[in-house]
Symmetry: C2
Subunit: 210 residues, 2 copies
DNA sequence: AATTATCGATAACAAAGCTATCTATTGACT
DNA sequence: AGTCAATAGATAGCTTTGTTATCGATAATT
């Protein structure tokens, strides 16, 4: 198909498709003539993947490019691809370590030790978690700390479901893509479900207790 | 204190503080002279709240302003404040309803019916959820649908913890602020924990099964 | 033959979020 | 009292991000 049809079927404007081509997020099509390029169903699929990561997952364009590069690699790594995909999280690595941050860090370490989790200090998830708790502490909301253990337990149950979803597949590229989507769109799904569940629980308790 | 000290103690530059004042996110200080304003500890706290919502929660500035306005309201509503705070989610309401979207919508409704959840069709969480699943469907990842039920169950367990945290407090403004922080920073906490838990579960299974 | 689409390159645009500049005060210190 | 840094308020500028528009030359379509 030509770029016009690709645009129509994907819902992405022609200039934007050209932009993605320039940014190497979309591979070049098959050159038919000096001035003519043909695109395939694969391009359509790739475009849908890009748009999903951008407007559902909220990933910035450069991150999408990196994630796609990893998916396209000859030896793609699930671990690396998902790590890249997590650039949606606040990146808060270079922060100074003042007292509330140290307190939060010690607390998280104790919770993880209790669960038998082993996490490197510079893990993006770890630093994001510490940062969130440090802010809570700064805002005198230290009561939140007590929830972290229970959240961790439930996060583990979620992760079991996540890993179930990708295990049993052998094609590496497929697993990587599933992992990326499961993580990025999965975050949206879980956040949305949490939001809805909060209302259900809230309403139920209002009805019961008053 | 004067604006310089406020800047030093909060880590926010003077021009940025002035910007937040212009944007009505930070209330005006006490006017000492025609050309002199005094700020309080409350301003410092507010500034920390703003920065937490922006750089940990990732909320856009206009959304932060709305959330703060609700917190400041004479009769603040937890429901409304949290709804505003959820503008971090992809806002995908005006989407056309094509076949994959309809399929996703029907599926979500069946899952909710099974759990006894009642949700209006235009609920932001609902539309975000439907959109995420529709994209999965478009990308031939319909296997993800089967996880939604389990995710919903776990989301409900998370929501129980969330509601526990804010119940038992009587001051309305305090409850609203706790709810907003619990939702916005809580999302970051849960996402980070999920990411870490995925690695733990993955490594554990590798060790066991191979 | 006439119209429309496409190509690649480059420039323009819009929003978001800060940051810088400017002038007239004002406070702090010697 | 005199000097110098800080402040207020207003306005303009900057950077990044993501997208869109323009253009001249070719190619496809009717």
């Amino acid at each position: 198909m030509r770029i016009g049809e690709l645009s129509r079927r994907s819902g992405v404007s022609v200039p934007t498709i050209k932009y993605y081509l320039r940014e190497k997020m979309l591979p070049e099509g098959e050159r038919i003539a000096a001035n003519q390029v043909r695109y395939s169903e694969e391009h359509l699929r790739r475009l849908r993947l890009i748009r999903s990561l951008i407007d559902v997952g909220g990933l910035p364009v450069p991150t999408v490019r990196e994630v796609l590069a990893e998916i396209d690699a000859s030896q793609p790594s699930v671990h690396h691809a998902v790590a890249l995909a997590h650039r949606g999280l606040p990146v808060l690595t270079g922060e100074r370590s003042d007292e509330p941050r140290e307190e939060a860090r010690r607390y998280v370490e104790s919770v993880f030790a209790a669960r038998g989790w082993t996490v490197p200090e510079d893990h993006p998830g770890f630093t994001a978690l510490v940062e969130a708790l440090a802010r809570m502490s700064l805002l005198n909301q230290r009561g939140f700390f007590e929830c972290v253990g229970r959240y961790a337990e439930l996060a583990e149950a979620i992760a079991e479901v996540d890993i179930d979803l990708i295990s049993g597949h052998t094609d590496v590229a497929d697993v990587v893509e599933k992992a990326v989507l499961g993580t990025v769109l999965g975050d949206v799904v879980i956040t949305a479900l949490r939001r809805i569940a909060q209302e259900q629980v809230f309403n139920r308790r209002m009805a019961q207790g008053g």
